[in-house]
């Protein structure tokens, strides 16, 4: 439903760089752009939203041309049905939460939609507060709400949770997943957080030097192969200790530390701080309700 074929000469971290993308995005897809700083991720979002003009190419959304440089078509950002959320909130500081949302309301939508969105983001109790009295997590919830008030079909998020601590980040990811589903959005997220990417997205496009280096499901992109283990978590190695004929590897997964028994051959290339996948078959774990 969205076809992006764009080229843009950019100033990369190591000199001039050509951003050259050919990307089709299905309706309802949750796509993450991943890659090092300066790979062209933010520029891509800016060109989709209309804030930056490509040098060449086309962007079609549901068959409508948003961009066709050869025909001199470049429709304004406000005419594209796009919600944009940045890392640094960008709320109006002199307005309350509700005023911020009302300001963003598109002409043909009702204030009822504001109530619904405040409900789903759980910010109703913050509506008469000014942004500078809110925590970072609250502000980012308001920023997402404000993007949704515009009834976008496409939601663009540029590292929205990067500045927040883990606990808040995990909760905001839940909110984001919920609004993506509830409003049937197509979402493009920029993120470096592999846990976040696995949790939210069904497709990852990895950019390097302005080109698509890899794409696929998060498992295909980050694991490199398919493994039938259903009990799989990404984590970080904290500690490795030899015990008798085996090694005990402590791994941080989200905010829990788990221990894995490993063999010498498995830990040969493993160092503290390495990202690892912990996998087991779905048959092994025991499940019980906690009272």
């Amino acid at each position: 439903m969205m076809q992006i074929r764009i080229q843009k000469n950019l100033e990369g971290p190591s000199g001039p760089m050509l951003l050259d993308l050919d990307l089709n995005i299905e309706k309802g897809q949750f796509l993450t752009l991943y890659g090092p700083s300066g790979a062209g991720k933010t520029s891509t979002l800016q060109m989709i939203s209309g804030l930056m003009r490509p040098d060449h190419g086309t962007i079609y959304f549901d068959g409508q041309p948003w961009v066709d440089i050869s025909k001199n078509i470049h429709i304004k950002p406000q005419l594209r049905k796009v919600g944009y959320v940045f890392q640094d909130y960008a709320l109006f500081p002199n307005m309350t939460v509700k005023q911020n949302l009302v300001f963003a309301l598109s002409k043909n939508s009702s204030s009822k939609s504001i109530m619904d969105i405040m409900d789903i983001m759980e910010i109703g109790n913050l509506q008469s507060r000014k942004p500078d009295t809110l925590s970072g997590g609250q502000r980012q919830r308001v920023a997402i709400a404000r993007a949704l008030v515009q009834q976008p079909q496409l939601l663009l998020l540029d590292e929205p949770f990067a500045a927040l601590d883990l606990k808040i980040r995990l909760r905001l990811q839940d909110y984001l997943g919920e609004v993506h589903r509830t409003y049937g959005l197509t979402t493009i997220l920029i993120s470096h957080d592999i846990g976040e990417i696995h949790k939210l997205s069904n497709r990852v496009v990895s950019l390097e030097q302005g080109k698509i280096a890899k794409q696929g499901t998060p498992s295909e992109v980050f694991v490199g192969h398919n493994l039938s283990g259903k009990f799989k978590f990404k984590g970080e190695v904290l500690h490795i200790e030899k015990n008798e004929v085996v090694y005990i590897v402590s791994v941080l997964i989200h905010n829990e530390v788990v221990k894995v028994i490993a063999q010498g051959s498995e830990i040969e290339n493993l160092e503290i701080g390495d990202a690892v996948m912990v996998a087991s078959k779905a048959f092994n774990p025991i499940i019980y309700k906690i009272q």
Partner: protein, 134 residues
């Protein structure tokens, strides 16, 4: 992690589960059950080459080749090395299909009298084998 390579020779699907039969050379059949089907996992195709992964701690060792037990994945070989710890020991089995390590209690090693050069059979439960298509 023990790793053996083979070719998928049969896939029996029921609901979300697949019973996958893998053929190794020289002829040996191993079976695994996975929570995937050919619809959810592209690598589940007959004649696909696949790696079988199983943890050392899930390998049962026996000195008789065909005891009356439910474990049908059986791989016979010769013990190449026994590394004994106080509680656990690692037994390295040399087989026609590659090396297989087993971690069992040191007590069991003593009780079975496992030592270098002896014949032994590795048994692996159906649900302990993972598939990987690297």
């Amino acid at each position: 992690m023990n790793r053996l390579r083979g070719t998928i020779s049969n896939i029996e699907v029921n609901g979300n589960l697949s019973l996958v039969t893998v053929h190794l050379q020289p002829p040996l059949t191993l079976k695994t059950i996975v929570v995937e089907t050919p619809k959810t996992a592209a690598y589940l195709q007959i004649e696909n080459e696949i790696d079988l992964l199983f943890k050392e701690t899930e390998v049962v060792l026996g000195t008789a080749e065909s005891p009356n037990i439910s474990l049908q994945n059986r791989i016979s070989g010769t013990i190449r090395e026994v590394e004994q710890g106080q509680l656990l020991s690692k037994v390295l089995l040399e087989t026609k299909w590659g090396g297989i390590s087993s971690i069992i209690s040191s007590n069991a090693v003593r009780q079975l009298g496992l030592s270098k050069g002896m014949n032994a059979t590795a048994f692996i439960k159906l649900n302990e084998i993972m598939l990987s298509n690297t």
